[in-house]
């Protein structure tokens, strides 16, 4: 996988993960192109399209949020759909009935979850349970620090 993007139907970026080094300008171009291509697709199209030398896989969840991944030639597109699905499940489990707002207001958590699931464009952990456990423990670590500091910070020091 080369990149993973989350954006709304109105063209607002919600998350960007890049697995290859690109300049800011290149990133902006990719984002623009992806939004343009994906948002223009009619409702019941297939979830794949070709862009430059990449296979693009996209899926819409929560009525207005698009998940879009750029794959290399040897990546399995059908499996990529499962990868996106798995990420959605992880988000769902963490936030409890997740919706787009959760991802907007807790974007840093969305990244943390992603980083426990994928790395270097590859799957890190195939077990939902294991990912959930790591996240819980990491959050506990954070909360512990917050309590120590005696400041009324909620889980999520921000």
């Amino acid at each position: 996988m080369r990149f993973l993007l989350l954006f709304s139907r109105q063209g607002k970026l919600r998350l960007q993960k890049w697995f290859t080094p690109l300049t800011d300008r290149e990133k902006k171009k990719v984002i623009r192109d992806m939004m343009m291509l994906v948002l223009a697709r009619p409702a019941r199209s297939c979830n794949f399209l070709q862009w430059r030398d990449l296979k693009i896989v996209y899926k819409r969840w929560y009525a207005s949020l698009y998940f879009c991944a750029g794959l290399e030639d040897h990546d399995n597109e059908l499996l990529a759909l499962e990868v996106l699905h798995r990420y959605v499940e992880l988000l769902d489990k963490y936030f409890g009935n997740v919706c787009e707002l959760d991802i907007i207001f807790n974007f840093e958590k969305a990244y943390f979850i992603l980083d426990e699931f994928l790395m270097e464009g590859e799957i890190l952990e195939t077990s939902k349970v294991a990912v959930g456990v790591s996240l819980e423990e990491a959050d506990t670590l954070q909360e512990g620090e917050a309590k120590e500091a005696w400041r009324p910070l909620s889980a999520g020091a921000c």
Binding site: Q16, Q50, N76, L78, L79, F112, S134, C158
Partner: protein, 777 residues
């Protein structure tokens, strides 16, 4: 200073902005606050501020002033700080900036941290954005960590190692020892990442590949366990146990089995098992099947297995799920070269996909359809493809048209079918046809000699209907210019000939010149066509008028052409026919279609005119008649002249028509024989080869042969084989004369010979009247 506002608060506030300007204002205000907070080196709220900055960065606003702050967060002792710091580093920094190197030390320390989650953060960041320098510095740490038994860390280190290898391939060797017992893991996460690492190494190094082939049995076993094992809640996806791992193993097997008989054999059974047993009702099962098919096709599998794979793809084609149909078409496209016959069996399904509503599927189906066209199915396939061309979206038309032309050229069952197909494309998708197709089509039409009348008629009719499609108009103009005589004489055999007068044809062509729809290129074609018709039609005056009008056209190209054509009318009227002749000859060769017809005129004019007109005038004086036309003699082998010679050779259709040779001159030991050939396709041209031989004891050097013919003829003299006629008949000098005799008058020729013999110059004139009737009738 009050505490900086919290992240969620900021997000809420920004979302209330109703305009872009309002949002920008809020952002600027907050950025200012954050900047001053950074200046105060406040540790407590740094984390909060950077998080806000990251949010604003995601909205598209610049956040580079937060980069150093991220580094400070990373260096902090608190996990909370590190988490945001590392995230910030991954979002704001990249390997192009030197700043990122400052992270190296922090990462190194954190890699050895006591808390695994801190170590995890460091590994994640290094694996995400570590530059080559960082990877080189920290590879040792990574390698050390690979030995850990902590599965949480193990999987992260393994992927980090993959990143290092991708960045610095030379370091791959150092990870080799750690791969010793890579596959004996139970933990799926570790197993999965290990398979990724092995795949990476095998893809990059043939040595590694050979080394790891021994793992095939182990991989097969793991895969088997996954399939046969009962329900495992932790890894289950719709009834399939850990599909991600299964697919990854299948991919590694593909790489290991490729080109290797033993490995391929070892995996045959498991592949068959997966292919037949996997549940296909959900996407996840199909994802595994897909990977299995790819593997089967790539390794040296037995033929039964290959057929099974293609059949799976065939079933995919009929699946309701669009994604699966798309994937099937993509895979079939990959295998169509190697397993052509097997894929052919699914041709009708593939062709049906042309009618699919989905754009991605249509595109793949089109590509695959073209790959499947062959001599047997060309008629049926072309019908479908032409129907597709009619109805498809504009984005497909150019590619489809090109594909149709290519396929038609390769497999056309008959010339008539070929021309009809081209016509169909030009009329239905004429504006989408690529520019370079036009010369190719012209070439094609030229070569289909017997179809000229039919072609020009159909094109003319098409022009009457619609002049908006430029490629169609260009090809049609060219044809009319070339075969206009066939058009007005109503000679079509293939279909009912239409009645068309010269004036009507000229009306159409002039219409193209003035129409707003015509591009400059098209106008050029139209003008040249009109010009060419001056040698085929009788209404030359009308043509002359048109041409002279365009001599003052605003369009420079058009103006230049018109001026040159005007010149042809005025100064070289006698050569217009020759112009026709040369064009006709040279048309058979690609370099015409590469040069535009305008350049062609230049070549003609330059070769035929850059001439020693002097020489011709001399001859005129000598021969003292106004009925004799100066002849252009090519003594220098300029390119066109030799082209002429090659033309003669390459025309190939020259048939020795059985015209008897004759002796034209025989005096003082110099004998000149003429032999005759008729040039095809133009029967008005007689090709005469002179053979000069010398029966005296001394060579005749500086031998020059010149000829002149009456006005109604055109003559072209090509380069002689040599200027020395050797003594005692030891060899002949040959030279080719081409005579155009459109009015079929009796051929007469005056010849002049000059040579040096035994030290003195000799000159002689003679008249040749004894041409056999067959040579000019």
């Amino acid at each position: 200073m009050p505490a900086p506002i919290r992240l969620r608060e900021l997000i809420r506030t920004i979302r209330t902005a109703r305009t872009q300007a309002e949002e920008r204002e809020m952002i600027q205000k907050e950025c200012a606050a954050i900047r001053s907070s950074f200046r105060e080196e406040d540790n407590t709220y740094r984390c909060r501020n950077v998080a806000k900055l990251l949010y604003m960065h995601m909205l598209g606003y610049p956040a580079h002033f937060g980069q150093l702050e991220c580094l400070k967060l990373i260096a902090s002792q608190k996990f909370t700080d590190k988490r945001i710091g590392y995230l910030g580093a991954m979002l704001l920094l990249d390997e192009r900036q030197d700043v990122h190197l400052l992270m190296t030390n922090c990462i190194k320390n954190d890699l050895n941290h006591s808390t695994q989650y801190v170590q995890g953060l460091a590994l994640c960041t290094l694996g995400c954005m570590g530059s080559s320098e960082m990877c080189r510095d920290l590879a040792g740490e990574v390698e050390k960590l690979l030995k850990t038994s902590n599965s949480y860390l193990r999987k992260k280190v393994t992927l980090c190692a993959v990143h290092v290898i991708r960045k610095v391939p030379e370091l791959m060797e150092m990870f080799l020892p750690a791969t010793k017992n890579l596959l004996s893991e139970k933990n799926h996460g570790v197993l999965h990442t290990s398979v990724v690492l092995l795949t990476e190494m095998c893809e990059r190094s043939p040595d590694m590949l050979a080394h790891f082939r021994k793992l095939v049995p182990q991989l097969v076993r793991i895969l088997k366990n996954l399939i046969m094992s009962g329900y495992s809640p932790e890894h289950d996806v719709s009834g399939i146990s850990d599909p991600f791992l299964q697919v990854r193993i299948l991919r590694l097997l593909r790489i290991l089995g490729k080109g290797d008989d033993d490995s391929s054999e070892a995996m045959n059974d498991i592949l068959a098992q997966v292919a037949t047993n996997t549940e296909t009702s959900k996407n996840v099962g199909n994802a595994i099947l897909y990977e299995t098919v790819l593997t089967i096709m790539d390794i040296k599998s037995e033929s039964g297995l290959r057929v099974l794979a293609i059949n799976i793809l065939g079933r995919f084609l009929l699946n309701n799920d669009k994604n699966i149909r798309y994937v099937a078409l993509t895979s079939l496209l990959k295998t169509v070269q190697t397993d052509h016959n097997a894929v052919q069996r699914h041709r009708s399904t593939i062709v049906d996909c042309l009618k699919d509503l989905d754009v991605s599927i249509k595109r793949r189906a089109m590509e695959l359809s073209f790959a499947l066209v062959n001599g047997n199915n060309i008629r049926g396939m072309m019908k479908e493809l032409l129907y597709f061309l009619d109805s498809c979206d504009p984005e497909f038309k150019a590619d489809c048209a090109s594909g149709v032309f290519l396929a038609a050229e390769k497999y056309a069952p008959s010339k008539r079918w070929h021309i009809d197909t081209i016509m169909r494309v030009l009329t239905t998708a004429g504006s989408y046809v690529r520019d370079d197709s036009v010369p190719n089509l012209i070439q094609l039409i030229t070569n289909s000699v017997e179809m000229h009348a039919y072609t020009v008629q159909r094109l003319y009719k098409a022009l009457l209907d619609d002049i908006s499609q430029q490629p169609l108009v260009q090809v049609a103009s060219w044809c009319i210019g070339e075969y206009g005589d066939l058009l007005v004489s109503g000679q079509c055999e293939e279909e009912e000939p239409i009645q068309v007068t010269e004036d009507e044809v000229l009306d159409v062509l002039e219409g193209l010149l003035v129409s707003n729809l015509s591009t400059p290129v098209t106008r050029g074609y139209a003008l040249t066509a009109i010009m060419k018709l001056s040698t085929r039609f009788t209404s030359v005056n009308r043509i002359k008028k048109v041409v002279s009008i365009y001599g003052s056209s605003i369009d420079v190209e058009l103006q230049q052409r018109a001026v040159e054509y005007n010149a042809l009318f005025k100064k070289y009227d006698h050569m217009r026919n020759g112009f026709h002749l040369s064009l006709l000859m040279i048309i058979n060769f690609r370099f015409f279609v590469v040069l535009s017809s305008f350049k062609m005129v230049q070549v003609c004019l330059s070769c035929l005119c850059v001439v020693p007109i002097l020489q011709a005038n001399d001859l005129l004086d000598l021969l003292g008649g106004n009925d004799v036309v100066p002849v252009i003699q090519n003594t220098v082998s300029t390119k066109p002249a030799s082209a002429g010679g090659e033309l003669l050779d390459l025309l190939g259709d020259l048939s020795l028509s059985g015209i008897p040779p004759m002796t034209a001159y025989n005096k003082n030991g110099l004998k000149i024989d003429f032999t005759f050939e008729r040039a095809n396709p133009n029967p008005n041209i007689a090709v005469i080869t002179i053979h000069a031989s010398n029966s005296t004891e001394a060579d005749m050097t500086d031998f020059v042969f010149q000829a002149a013919v009456p006005k109604t003829f055109q003559l072209q003299l090509l380069s002689p084989s040599s200027n020395v006629v050797p003594a005692l008949n030891q060899g002949t000098v040959t030279q080719v004369i081409r005579v155009l005799n459109p009015q079929k008058q009796q051929l007469r020729m005056r010849i002049k010979l000059t040579y040096t013999h035994k030290g003195s110059a000799v000159q002689d004139l003679a008249e040749v009247n004894n041409f056999p009737p067959q040579s000019w009738q």
